[in-house]
Amino acid sequence: MGDWNLLGSILEEVHIHSTIVGKIWLTILFIFRMLVLGVAAEDVWDDEQSEFVCNTEQPGCKTVCYDQAFPISLIRYWVLQIIFVSSPSLVYMGHALYRLRTLEKQRHKKKAQLKVELEETEALEDHKKIEKELKKLDEQKKVRKAPLRGSLLRTYVLHILTRSVVEVGFIVGQYVLYGIGLAPLYKCERDPCPNSVDCFVSRPTEKSIFMIFMLVIAGASLFLNLLEIFHLGVRKIKQTIYGSKYNGDEDSICRSKKNSMVQQVCILTNSSPQKHMHLTHTSLVVVPDKQIESLPLYMPMAGPPPSHEVPKGDPSGSEQPPRENRLPSQPEFQTLQQLGATERRSTLDSRLHSCSSEESGPKGSGPPRNVGQQPRASLRASHIEIPAALRKQSRVSQCKDFSEESDSPESGNYPTARKASFMSRGLSESPSDSPASKSGSDTEANRIAQGESPAITPPPAAGRRMSMSMILELSSIMKK
């Protein structure tokens, strides 16, 4: 059996960009499908043809009867199922990474602009403000997850739907091909077999058990997909129903160019009555320079959101940076801003720090396990040196990262996250995922730093290498 670690390491990357239900789905995929397939099921189907016995001496009869009974071996079928079911996730991940790259580019541009401004301005206050902005942008670099909104959300929903359709297709396919279980006796009437020949299947009970097990797991995955769609749908409905309450969170949506729906929310934001004028509760929005001029139009009307938004915002997790309204041209608001400024900035810093520490934390487990290129040991080979093999296989997923790391020195952030086991890393992020996707602002995404735009180019190159070796792996799987 080929090594699943390649696909596993790619899916670990997907893990970062998933919601919590998506992470559970990935865990089930890894443990109950890939692991079971690799360590248990494969051996059951090993002697499928050699132990397929027919009650005849007719040469060729056994071969044609086996071919008729088993058009595709279930092991290969399940391998195809896993690959097809995982593929939409890879498409979504590609989109997420692309989005991260554009955000990073924007961040760089903004940083350059700010640096220029820093040199130009002489006023001490402006100086300090700009320095703080720069610091914030630096901190954003550490956040690596694209916020789930706009076209990315569409891709996400589409990928879940595709996954569900593919899953259903494979479940139906398995039922049509083999039914629920395997009968021990197969009556064959194909040429050159004389009349009807009794053929006996090897290990039918054990195979039936595994077939049922895999059907149940596929059903569970399908259920999780539906749950995820429901979860996203409910959130969307909540957002539209409670759209006015989320005004502060979505203030920055006004500035987004990408989301036209968002502009309607903007209008709602501006026209909805504001309950509190506490700027301490204002969520801050970093405004791209060209849109600062438009701000004065909004600011007088767009007051701070109600205070109960903050508690809602808080559970949404550390990856939701508050948005900052910067109004250098509005002196009457400056004093009000500065009241809550330190408090907000500290929470902003702390939240961004938390993003960074979440990402950097699991790195600690990475380096000790990253020992360089390892040959991909198949399970059979690992019989011989299992202690080493156990360690090796936990590092095989790192070897690709290692090669990527050597490609680009700047991609330090990018592959190291994959070094950690996806559970420890992914779980630490999972609570913050759903809230990050709850808040719906693109400028917030501007701030969520994904410091990989220079790193993005090496991974695709490595990705091409990956895909080649993946094809080789798959061909070795299929050969069996």
Partner: protein
């Protein structure tokens, strides 16, 4: 996906287990998974090819083998190990959730830039097993016990004990009358079966001990808390009245300051 990947997953959970939990994990990986992969799989490797029946009837051997070995021991143990390892992931999820909340608390309470150290230490720190985490941990232990015991019993039931017979008499169709079939390496298989059952029993004992330890610890904690409350109650009543008065004053002060702040911002 292989056992190594599972080890990587569970290794992270290990940090937050009790010492008994760590011992359990070592026993699991060294005595069960390693033995399974290195030794047991080779022993059972030729179980069907060397299963010989005293007949020329085609298909008889297949049918007899299927009748006497509905699930191979190896697959049994693989599934048992996978199911037994899975509840630990529940704990991992809960720990991650709790850490996130603690982190948020830290960040909300303190202002300042030197927070990275705190957060890093939080990442490395082992959270105490109290409150809801205790319940998650205990229920994961419970499920582990359930799966272990369940699989052990199923193995005993399917194979009528833990011993492998040398000879089985088969009367399945298409075998004519009664046919003698001979199992390959029965003694070696018996040895390994007893070994795996023994390590499974040790794991059950460890899990029960861990469960007991957690329950006792929780009970002690509860009793310590209730003792503390009782001593507080026995304090001078006057001092409590003073404290109440002070509380009222404080609340009044707070409300007045919040009023003044609202006046300021509006």
């Amino acid at each position: 996906m292989s056992w190594g990947a599972l080890y990587a997953q569970l290794g992270g959970v290990n940090k937050h287990s009790t010492s008994l939990g760590k011992i359990w994990l070592s026993v699991l990986f060294i005595f069960r998974i390693s033995i399974l992969v290195i030794a047991a799989e080779t022993v059972w490797g030729d179980e069907q090819s060397d299963f010989v029946c005293n007949t020329q009837q085609p298909g008889c051997k297949n049918v007899c083998y299927d009748h006497f070995f509905p699930v191979s021991h190896i697959r049994f143990w693989c599934l048992q190990l996978i199911f037994v390892s899975t509840p630990a992931l529940l704990v991992a999820m809960h720990v991650a959730y709790r850490k996130r909340n603690v982190k948020k608390g830290l960040l909300a309470n303190r202002a300042g830039s030197a927070k990275e150290d705190d957060l890093e230490s939080l990442k490395k720190r082992r959270l105490p097993i109290t409150g809801p985490l205790w319940w998650t941990y205990t229920s994961s232990l419970f499920f582990r016990l359930l799966f272990e015991a369940g699989f052990m019993y199923a193995l005993y039931y399917v194979y009528d004990g833990f011993q492998m017979a040398r000879l089985v008499k088969c009367e399945q169709w298409p075998c004519p009358n009664k046919v003698d079939c001979f199992i390959s390496r029965p003694t070696e298989k018996t040895v390994f079966t007893i070994f795996m059952v023994g390590s499974s029993a040790i794991c059950i004992v460890l899990n029960v001990a861990e469960l007991g330890y957690l329950i006792v610890k929780a009970l002690l904690r509860c009793s310590a808390r209730s003792k503390g409350r009782r001593t507080f109650v026995h304090q001078d009543k006057i001092s409590t009245e003073k404290a109440l008065l002070q509380n009222e004053k404080n609340t009044m002060l707070l409300s007045s300051t919040s009023d003044s702040s609202t006046n300021k911002t509006v």
